[in-house]
Symmetry: C2
Subunit: 404 residues, 2 copies
């Protein structure tokens, strides 16, 4: 019920088709983030209308609220959230990082995260704090951010939880390190993640019913030998796909290098998912290096703060609250076919954000997801036509050139 | 471009058709409240899909944000908010009350308002406070709740503002008194409202272009002779329709009496709008007495707090956060055709509210507006078939019997 086929190449970039029991995904694809079984301010119908065909939810969050048993009782995540298309569940590895090292180190996946980088949409913590997790070889113990209750995740428990949730593609439990972790710790965490991967693979084998596919996760921080070691180890476990997670260095250039070390080692016939990255400029860079799936909260986070994707603007975005839009009758993006751009002006959208109206975020999310899908469609076409470099140049000359 | 025709009667209740330049409204009708040019968490498309055909926005709020000039520049309110159907604008009279007497007296339109009445959805203020308005014969001076700036509304200014906004039906400026105002003050305010009505009528006559209809407002509190005096005076000004505003007494029974005193005096060939009332039980009672239009924030307010309309439940509502819904796979309302009930379970809706997800309010608003439209449709059919009393009994035996 699962298959992945590479359909065309443009150097390292590739298009493909990932078939799941709930439909197929054209790759490269942007995966909408629906952490708590909902993509912020959008119904499943809205997501589908944007062209998006796959959502990633979060096992950790759903374990805490409403709980795996309830979702299983409701017929699984697809039925629970009214989404008939492909679903992925992340394991909670990133949340271990978020509640642990990210809090202590005050960093994101690509460090350092300063306050002005908030709009990058990456998870970050504004104050250094005490870790709320304890990682040991057997798994991770953490405190619920909701009620302070204590929980434990082992690699096996996460697989069983993900089976209850019933997503098409599930990720193994990993330990996501921080860019500020040293070589020694990053190595130890990577080796632990490898041992967990073996255990998760085994548990999955016991309960598999061919309804779910399992993805392994490559770790190793920004250290070349660790990434290579991890990629070799994880590749040998014969997963249905491979995710690249964890710390991606201290700059975008380091992140690109991590991909250049890792991807050539991964089996070319399996899909590759870069976890948690998705700025417009990044998407060009990671697809170029052979990534098939990316997920990122950026369209959601931007929508919360009145930031709309825009092709011809600096850093591909406009901030609708800017007073220059107060009587601007144009749509956010001329020629955009989304519901928001077809029906509402910049002036109206600005008014909604200024007034704090709930419709504001919804209309922004509609636009941002449509924009992202349009971008991914252009990228797929360009790869097919072997013109990705040209498309990248065209976009960069529009919105990327003046970026910080 | 305006007409109103009574099509059928069931005792005092009636069905009719109100034609406006932006389409016609079947009466009795529930008017969706879109105070700041948006109905909370719903797009114009969602409102239309619910069956709702008319929205009331608020001149006072739109004057403060984004301002009449901007909306005029954007082609008027219809174009600004992407709503092609009939629109009404309220004048700001209720806001004068809200910022003034309601604050000083700590009351709503039907006093007294105690904390447990919050879910009635009526505007109320939890603390007695200082009035932020000053009413004199020439109009009202008030302080913006947004930035503390001072503003003045005269009857003429409000008409000119409403012309800029361009709604199909506009209301004159009135002074809405409190149930705690004495006879003397209520009389003085009513007479002032009458003088303002003359001035508004005159101003409207100067600028009218037959694109807008003007509604007068009957005041007079819960005093029979004042209501009668006001109804006679306002009726004689030949408005296109008549609204009943202001204090409606200290109980629902008093409110019904106010209608019984007032309605027989109003010209039967003109539409009658009861401002700001719309609980399910109330709708039966006011329609029975001859009301054609009601507006109320209840569907919106309920949606914010996880309260869903439900036919067979006590007080016609369920609170979805109740833990008994945590693994309830049923829709909110069996047989309801709304998007929410067709696609989502009570368990999922509860999860969204518990998690504070923005989709929660949207899905609740979709249901509540669909419910309201279904109710109004049943009421119109019952009036045509002269079975309104029977329908009322049927509903009351379901959800009304145990009501507080």
């Amino acid at each position: 019920m699962f298959s992945f086929k590479v359909l065309s190449n443009d150097k390292e970039a590739r298009t493909g088709e990932l078939v799941t029991p709930h439909g197929s995904i054209k790759t490269p694809s942007f995966v909408a983030v629906g952490t708590r079984a909902t993509v912020k301010a959008l119904s499943s119908k809205d997501i589908h209308a944007s062209g998006c065909r796959v959502i990633i939810a979060n096992s950790y969050h759903l374990h805490l609220q409403p709980g795996g048993d309830i979702i299983e009782h409701m017929g699984g995540l697809h039925s629970f959230m009214g989404w008939e298309g492909p679903l992925i569940t992340d394991s909670g590895g990133f949340q271990i990082f978020s509640l642990g090292a990210a809090k202590e180190h005050r960093v994101g996946k690509v460090a350092p995260i300063f306050p002005e980088d908030q709009d990058l949409g990456r998870h970050f913590h504004s104050k250094k704090g005490k870790s709320l997790v304890r990682v040991d070889d057997n798994g991770v113990e953490f405190v619920s951010y909701l009620d302070g209750s204590r929980h434990r995740f082992s690699p096996e428990q996460v697989i069983r939880l993900e089976q209850k949730l019933g997503a098409d593609i599930v990720l193994v439990l990993d330990e996501c390190t921080s860019p500020l972790h040293d070589y020694h710790y990053t190595n130890a965490a990577m080796e632990r993640t490898n041992r967990w991967a073996v255990r998760a693979r085994e548990e999955f084998g016991k309960i598999s019913h061919n309804k779910q596919a399992l993805m392994g996760i490559v770790q190793g921080g920004a250290y070349r030998d660790l990434r290579e070691k991890s990629a070799i180890f994880i590749s040998n476990l014969d997963f249905d796909g491979y995710a690249i997670g964890g710390s991606l260095g201290r700059s975008k250039e380091e992140m690109y290098r991590v991909l250049e070390w890792t991807i050539p080692i991964l089996p070319p016939e399996k899909p590759r998912h870069l976890l948690g990255i998705g700025e417009v400029q990044d998407i060009f860079e990671v697809v170029k290096r052979g990534i098939d799936l990316v997920d990122c909260v950026i369209p959601n986070k931007f929508a919360q703060t009145g930031t709309f994707f825009s092709k011809n603007k600096e850093r591909f975005r406009i901030h609708i609250q800017n007073s220059r839009f107060k009587n601007d009758p144009r749509p956010v993006e001329e020629g955009c076919g989304c519901h928001t751009c077809r029906h509402y002006s910049r002036a109206y959208l600005r008014h909604l954000f200024m007034a704090g109206e709930p419709l504001a975020m919804h209309l922004a999310a509609v636009h941002n997801f449509n924009f992202m899908e349009s971008l991914m469609g252009q990228i797929r076409t360009a790869i097919k036509e072997k013109t990705l470099a040209e498309l990248t140049r065209k976009w960069n000359s529009r919105g990327g050139s003046n970026r910080k």
